[in-house]
């Protein structure tokens, strides 16, 4: 019997991100990938889904951003849009999704794994592997039976197209009004923060360059290196408290958790709260003027030096290597 793997992508009204397509890649590799979405999918998104091997899209209309309502929408989709209940349902590891999946699992009597870094379907059940204790332990959670709901970290796999794009069928259903009960919670206002520039979202980025107190509030070198690497800019709690940078950039246990292929921490001492949000990164580089910087202890490369000099120099060399003529020769001793 084929396994059905659902993927919750709340928004398909715009082109999908790499993190969205990573989930589709996981789902279609374990079985039939069915996307559950709360917006009507646009053509560009459908094309991406076809290229990545999705079999079907279920559009649930009439839901809202309130957790209780979104969870009821997931429950209804799982109960009504499948011939047999899907074996698993994946969603990106956002704060909103954790709660939506938790409440949906509560309604469905399903198993829940929060923030899996790897997903597999085995005889024993659906397996979600995760990094815990600030990336120092590997734990495998198994949901032996029923539907498993999992939030999945970005970069768990690389999004890869299938050889032959699929025909994606779109079906829809409307959320039963009776289920949409948020117990009187009322949305007074909602503002989506504008995304800065063209870089990837911090939580989903394959490269993160983060600055800490050592920047003294000047994030220009951090931005410069991030831009060369096509990465996102991160920061620490201190920097946010100082008002140097927006809260959205805070990496740490209570901010954004990042698991990029490359993390560069500049002027960051490496307090436990920050480490908890980045320690599972694949490759860690730290740049700090203090040779005793604790972040060096978990780094692959430790550069003892002034970030305001080291980062621009590295950025210039990397640009040079990328063959950008506008910067060639600006770096001293470029030979």
């Amino acid at each position: 019997m084929t396994t059905t793997a659902a993927v919750l992508l709340e928004h398909t009204d715009a082109p999908l991100t790499a993190a969205d397509l990573e989930l589709v890649t996981i789902a279609r590799d374990v079985g039939d990938a069915v996307v559950v979405t709360f917006t009507p999918p646009v053509a560009a998104a459908l094309e991406q889904l076809a290229a990545h091997g999705a079999a079907r899209v279920v559009h649930v209309s009439g839901t809202s951003t309130l957790t209780a309502v979104a969870a009821a929408a997931v429950q209804q989709a799982v109960e009504q849009a499948f011939d047999a209940a899907p074996r698993l349902l994946l969603a990106k590891a956002t704060f909103a999704n954790k709660e939506i999946l938790a409440r949906a699992a509560h309604l469905l009597g399903a198993g829940l794994v929060i923030d899996a870094a790897r997903v597999a379907v085995e005889d024993a059940g659906v397996v979600g592997a995760k990094r815990v204790f600030a990336g120092t332990w590997d734990v495998e959670c198994v949901v032996p039976e029923g539907t498993a709901l999992l939030t999945v970290r970005p970069n768990a796999v690389r999004a890869t197209p299938v050889a032959v794009p699929t025909e994606v069928e779109v079906t829809s259903l409307t959320l039963d009004a009776a289920r949409a009960d948020a117990r009187g919670v009322e949305l007074v206002s909602r503002t989506v923060h504008p995304t800065e520039g063209t870089g990837p979202a911090l939580g989903e980025a394959a490269v993160v360059v983060a600055g800490g107190r050592g920047t003294g509030g000047d994030f220009a070198p951090v931005h410069e290196l991030a831009e060369v690497l096509g990465g996102a800019v991160g920061s620490t709690r201190d920097c946010v408290d100082e008002g140097w940078i927006e809260h959205d950039t805070q990496v740490g246990q209570t901010g954004v958790t990042v698991t990029p292929r490359l993390y560069v921490g500049a002027g960051i001492s490496g307090a436990p709260h920050h480490r908890g949000g980045m320690q599972a990164s694949e490759v860690i580089v730290a740049v700090n003027a203090d040779p005793e910087c604790p972040l060096f202890e978990i780094s692959d490369l430790a550069v003892v030096g002034d970030l305001a000099l080291v980062l621009p120099r590295a950025a210039a060399l990397l640009r040079e290597r990328a063959g950008d003529p506008s910067v060639a020769g600006t770096a001293p001793d470029a030979s």
Binding site: A68, W137, D248, T254, V285, F296, L301, A302, V303
Partner: protein, 270 residues
């Protein structure tokens, strides 16, 4: 105003944390109140301080925790931070409880407290620093059938309703709901004060109410490992990272910058 604050006893994040038999080792030596739970306690104090004298005198902050015997330490710390009374839900059958069993047990404790008088507000921290699941407050709201207001960075109570600001996943929201409600708060909502000596002294002797599952009317097979829908199959410490390659810059940025660029290129990271 009667406020329940859910707190958790967790291994200290500065200690060597570990798993054994698929569960977090929760010894008392390295355990403490989950740091993020100081914020809902502080918020509860501020809510009471804003009341007039009569209303404040009739108010109560109840700290509730579930866990093994050592978990009572979290209540002692909560007393230092201003909680008036403490409830410890402890039962051997609770071991191995998943998110759902935890929420079910805490909900049963809240309902039990309601037998002695109405509960106006249930507060919690945004996450426990051991599991970092961040889902128990939402599940607690679901179990209790109460409004869910999570990850609040500000909380205002007026006219029988709670209004919160929240900032999650790049979205700022204001939500309002009638009381009673379940509210979780982030570490940005307030700065917890340092306990004064009077509270520290009093915390040692304050009585703790201990409830078992039977006291809460919960069947043992509804919680703990018996009810878990997800189980930990394996838990392994990760190998220590190789010591870092250390490069000391020459003071111009060149040595350091070159080492950084070469490293990124050699590892194929660009």
């Amino acid at each position: 105003m009667r406020i329940v604050v859910c707190v958790k006893h967790v291994p200290n994040i500065h200690s060597d944390r570990a798993f054994a038999d698929g569960r977090v080792v929760r010894g008392s030596a390295d355990g403490s109140l989950n740091e993020l739970d100081e914020h809902p306690l502080e918020e509860a104090l501020r809510i009471l301080e804003a009341l007039d004298d009569d209303a404040r005198a009739a108010s109560e902050i109840v700290a509730v925790t579930m866990g093994p015997a050592e978990a009572v330490d979290a209540l002692r710390r909560a007393f230092q931070l201003g909680a008036h009374t403490g409830v410890h839900v402890s039962d051997d059958a609770l071991a191995g409880s998943d998110y759902f069993a935890t929420a079910r047990t805490l909900a049963a404790a809240v309902r039990r407290l309601e037998q002695d008088g109405p509960v106006d507000l249930v507060l919690a921290g945004m996450a426990a620093l051991d599991g970092l699941g961040s889902v128990v407050p939402a599940l607690l709201a679901a179990e209790l059938g109460l409004p869910q207001l999570t990850n609040a960075t500000s909380l205002t109570l007026a006219d029988g309703a709670a209004t919160v600001q929240r900032e999650v996943d790049g979205v700022t929201e204001e939500l309002r709901a009638p009381l009673p409600a379940v509210v979780s708060v982030t570490d940005h909502i307030n700065r917890p004060r340092f306990p004064n000596i009077k509270l520290i002294m009093a915390a040692r002797t304050k009585p703790v109410t201990t409830w078992t599952l039977a006291d809460l009317g919960l069947e043992p097979d509804r919680v703990g490992v018996a009810a878990a829908r997800a189980v930990v199959r394996s838990a392994e410490p990760r190998p220590e990272r190789e010591p870092a390659t250390v490069v000391t810059d020459d003071g111009t940025g060149d040595t350091g910058g070159r080492a950084l660029a070469d490293f990124i290129i050699d590892r194929g990271l660009i």
